[in-house]
Symmetry: C2
Subunit: 345 residues, 2 copies
């Protein structure tokens, strides 16, 4: 059994913010299945900030996407044909199938969805890689303690909203940062943060830092780093001694191409940052969630019931149609989405 | 009982490398003891790189030394008079008595020397704060595993030589960095490192990094950071994934006054460093050993027998006479000492 699919190709590398020119669409016929493979009809694929890094030809935690290759993404879909023992037609699976509506993939590279609640796209957001990232980073590297203060950026996004809600649940004062008044209202009303600052209201890191001081004069114990840039500059000077900084991303720097020093105030030059780590006795831990999939089922067991009961909320932005994926992704990098961005194929 | 002492005062703040003008000598008469105090005749005090930081009027892990105040230092000495229960005349004690030959101090601020081997000055070096720093940082934050590769700077100094020897003992490939051929020979012959690079032989961080790659093509798992500067720039690009960086000091940056960005290559701007922490999944932990004194006796119990048996070596540079303390300290900051620098009063 085979079929004709449509997929999105990286046609050129972006400089700074990607443009539509960097993407092209391609129709393709799926090859006949060989032993061990499955044909998956993709229902949803995920758009995430980390994909910007893969578009560069630079050392990262994963190889860059090659020009002419399909854009990478996690996706959920339904098995349409199987030459793999243990996977049946009709099984719902998760795998890194990419920006595509149809995929032939080794059965060993997908896993049956371990979640039972609907919609299936939750496996890309609150119960998928981003939610897992927030849960793992906070619990393993944040070492949260009741009564402490936590700051997290992109707080209405799927990583930030997981971190913020777990933080509140654990008894921490929780401060979200977001890029609009609408997002800030959502952060407070839906996700329950104690304060949310709209970083666009502050022209400089110093101004944002002062606003942070006003709502958290006690200082910051955990900075969950998924943003970088202005927020990074605002928070580092407010870190308390023995503070923890789990680092899972830096979206605001992804588009700067050279990641040049231009945007940074001199007080956060590399030696100053290093000195801050020393004198404030900070613990800074970079992590990539794909190293930790062996803990994924534990995460699902713990968090799925909270999502099912409505205790833990989520926000999903669904874009309909693969054609809209490039523009939606560019919008994501500019902060246009409110919650987890998925493409319904 | 009282006496007349001599001590060294911070007379002005240095800009960059301190000069003799920044120090002055003062004779003083000790006041009569009040309840709880002891009079200590200082035998040795310690000169350490961290003291440079205290001379600046900048936020650090401890308040700056005030102009007109005595220079701070850990010291060992013998109790000459006691108004403190539990401390007797003749007891040997350690305390932060400063650059002085005589001190009146609260008995609660000194501790009886927990070590039995000679000389007493070991309590300032291999069995004191610097040795303890190396032991704590390596075991707690370095998380060493046999077969890994470790790099440490200032390797003939009291922190570096402790780290290097423990690293070898635990089965790690151990690379020292030092500032002369003489030190490098000592590092190999006395302390047993696998390789030692003389950083003065390399004009640029890139050249030092290439030399490091030549002796450790497998990459670096632990960078014990006590130096900063050129070594920092050389090592970061060579860090392996999941590498650990305990940060206890950055002597090469202490003298730069503003800690300006000038010396750094653009590839280690703050955003690049942050991205390195993410994509290499590094664990960076600043620590200050004074937070961990409750573990000091455990350290002494473990390490003193190794020093006594000669299994663990040390190197002490003794300067005779308090008058020589300022010039010896300036020399220390320039790397003129070979081993642990102490002043015999």
């Amino acid at each position: 059994m085979s079929g004709t699919g449509k997929r999105v190709i990286l046609s050129s590398r972006p400089v700074g913010l990607p443009t539509l020119d960097n993407f092209s669409f391609e129709s393709f016929s799926t090859p006949p299945l060989t032993a061990g493979q499955v044909l998956v009809k993709v229902a949803h694929f995920s758009l995430d900030p980390y994909m910007r890094g893969r578009m560069d030809d630079a050392r990262s935690y994963a190889p860059p996407i090659q020009i002419g290759s399909v854009m990478e993404a996690g996706a959920v879909g339904c098995v349409e044909a199987s030459a793999c023992e243990g996977l049946e037609v009709g099984d719902w699976v998760y795998g890194r199938m990419g920006w595509t509506d149809l995929a032939v993939i080794e059965g060993g590279l997908v896993q049956k969805l371990p979640i039972s609640i609907e919609p299936k796209s939750l496996a890309l957001g609150v119960l998928g890689m981003p939610g897992f990232t927030g849960w793992w980073g906070l619990t393993q590297h944040g070492r949260p303690k009741a009564g402490e203060t936590l700051v997290v950026g992109a707080v209405t996004g799927p990583v930030g909203s997981m971190v913020a809600q777990l933080s509140k649940k654990l008894g921490l004062k929780t401060i979200g940062i977001a890029g609009s008044e609408e997002k800030c209202a959502l952060a407070v009303d839906k996700f329950g943060v104690d304060h949310c600052l709209n970083h666009k209201s502050f022209n400089t890191p110093e101004a944002l830092s002062a606003a942070l001081e006003a709502v958290a004069p006690e200082g910051v114990d955990i900075y969950f780093e998924n943003v970088g840039g202005k927020l990074f500059e605002a928070v580092i000077p407010r870190m308390n001694e023995h503070g923890r900084i789990p680092v899972c991303g830096m979206i605001s720097w992804y588009n700067e191409g050279s990641m040049g020093t231009g945007a940074l105030t001199e007080t956060l030059s590399t030696p100053h940052l290093w000195r801050n780590i020393l004198v404030r006795k900070l613990s800074v831990n970079g992590f990539i969630i794909s190293d930790h999939w062996s803990n994924y089922l534990q995460f699902v067991r713990e968090i799925e019931p909270l999502v099912e009961s409505g205790t833990l909320k989520y926000l999903e932005d669904e874009v309909a149609g693969i054609e809209k994926a490039p523009s939606a992704f560019i919008g994501l990098l500019q902060g246009h989405n409110l919650g987890k961005l998925v493409v319904a194929v």
